[in-house]
Amino acid sequence: MLSIKNLKAGIDGKEILKGINLEIGAGEVHAIMGPNGSGKSTLSSVLAGRTDYEVTGGEVLFNGKNLLELNPEERAREGLFLAFQYPVEIPGVSTINFLKTAIAEIREYKGLPALEAKDFLKMVKEKQALVELKGSLASRAVNEGFSGGEKKRNEIFQMAMLEPTLAILDETDSGLDIDALRVVANGVNKLRSSTRSFVVITHYQRLLDYIVPDFVHVLFEGRIVKSGDKELAMELEKKGYGELTR
């Protein structure tokens, strides 16, 4: 469903991704690990279409479409979701209103009829329960005054609402205590399905105790230097990145 071939990208003339190759099948969970500065966030930003980054080579196919030709909102409407490492605040705009707008645009893009208000609200209730999000959070302005944990939970809630086919979690575990981590991981696990794939970007093995990946890749200096299964993550936990990156 996602096929990345020799992807090269950089910023201000500096190459950060130096040829990434990655195949992700439907329903698979891939973890991408690596030391700080290896290019993990750059990869998620490039996939989501942030224009600060310049793609200098390679190709990315998403459900058969050339992803790099689509603008960020088209990618989202095609089913790509990014859970941000640092979710932004949008003062004065409630999460409910925000999601209503998003869903309306996505449905219009797909040629689906608009969602009725009562169906939308029913969906909000269901998904809130699924990700254990307090009702009051969704009626507050998007992320405004949210704690770090609430922000991350709100990202997972949005993911549940938008029902993507590919979700990229960018260091979702950073800044979370163990309880918050468990809640977030539970939410993700409930959303796993045979038609939904995940890319879990993380620096630490910890998150992978809760979200068990099918594949683990190690990113170093803009290249995937090693791939394996969940055992690889554990190995890294024991030995550190040192050996792999020497």
Partner: protein
Amino acid sequence: MQKQNELIDQQIGGEYKYGWSSDIEMDTAPMGLSEEIVRFISKKKKEPDWMLEFRLKAYRHWLKMEEPKHWAHLDYPVIDFQKIIFYAAPKPKKELKSLDEVDPELLKTFEKLGISLEEQKRLSGVESRIAVDAVIDSVSVKTTFKETLAEKGIIFCSFSDAVQEHPDLIKRYMGSVVPGTDNYFAALNSAVFSDGSFCYIPKGVRCPMELSTYFRINAIGTGQFERTLIVADEGAYVSYLEGCTAPMRDENQLHAAIVEIVAHEKAEVKYSTVQNWYPGDVNGKGGIYNFVTKRGICLGDDSKISWTQVETGSAITWKYPSVILKGNNSVGEFYSVAVTNNMQQADTGTKMIHIGKNTRSTIVSKGISAGKSNNSYRGLVRINKGATRARNHSQCDSLLMGDRCGAHTFPYIEIKDKSAIVEHEATTSKIGEDQVFYCNQRGISTEKAIGLIVNGYCKEVLNQLPMEFAVEAQKLLAVSLEGSVG
């Protein structure tokens, strides 16, 4: 940044959607301004002598005044008052008895404005209604629901009718808040105003519907000089709405209005404006010069005046809706959203003059600048000696889109009483590319994202507007800023 500016250029497509003009037969004065013209206008309107005297006094004073060029943060060429037509009225075919007799072109004009009078009529009997006084090129052409209002003793009519039918009220209140000699544009208006609206709410009456005036400039080369006078007697309440549009014209047109509000003891007046005069094109050609004097006085104890404005139009806006807090415990409020795009300039704000004890004022100003526009907040909070325990809270926020626009805040604070508490907060932010990207990533287009973000930013102010108006204002904000972030 270069790239962002190009994108802004490409996308500034916030086109003015009200830029048609109507073919209505007009009755106009000769071009230019002189004592003759002032007399001509007064005569046209069959005014009593005291009214003519009021005009002449203002005119003679105006001759001695100088245009206020330097204090506001504005830049515009000298206005040639000899090139303006000071009176233009749709020619009445005959006395109008019912809606059916109104010029069909005129009715079409209103339909395009989204306020069909037919609609208004049909809505009679429905609970939430708006009574409309429509003013085209300075002349009030139709006031709806007059009879319904009359049952409660409410007077809502054109200013000219009021001069004829309620001379005592007009003599008592006209110029009592904004004297005919107040400032350059107020003096001009007092000399040449041709119509406007008058509203009187008697003691203890809560006006059952929103009262509304729609202003439209239509004829070429005309200025519009209307005045509004609202008087709320003891314990009365009224919510008043003002909407404005004008056709697209290459030359600049002048709008110099006066609004006066008087609130007696325990009375409350809410005045809301959605101003959408033609702002000129991308290069700053054409557009309305909007120089308006709006002032209210909380005359009695426990009275309240609240101004809410959403300003998206005009080439130049110069206005400071103010409240004189004379009565003890009186309350003044000012909620404002001012949007400037392309070459627009706005210098707007408020004055809160605290005279009575325990008086309170609140100022919330949200400026949004895009393109190469300039947006200034200018506000005065004055606490006079004896205004014990007066309080003011001011919040002035500026939002910048792109890096070629300007935002300025000029708070003037004069405190003559030590017991006063005055707080001023100001913030300037840029519309975040991060915010827009976040929306994009959820499938929301950049246009819609800006609409969402801006409306969220202005929420505190929009919440003050009556429901129907708030929806209109939200759409207007989105349209005015269409494509202004790359």
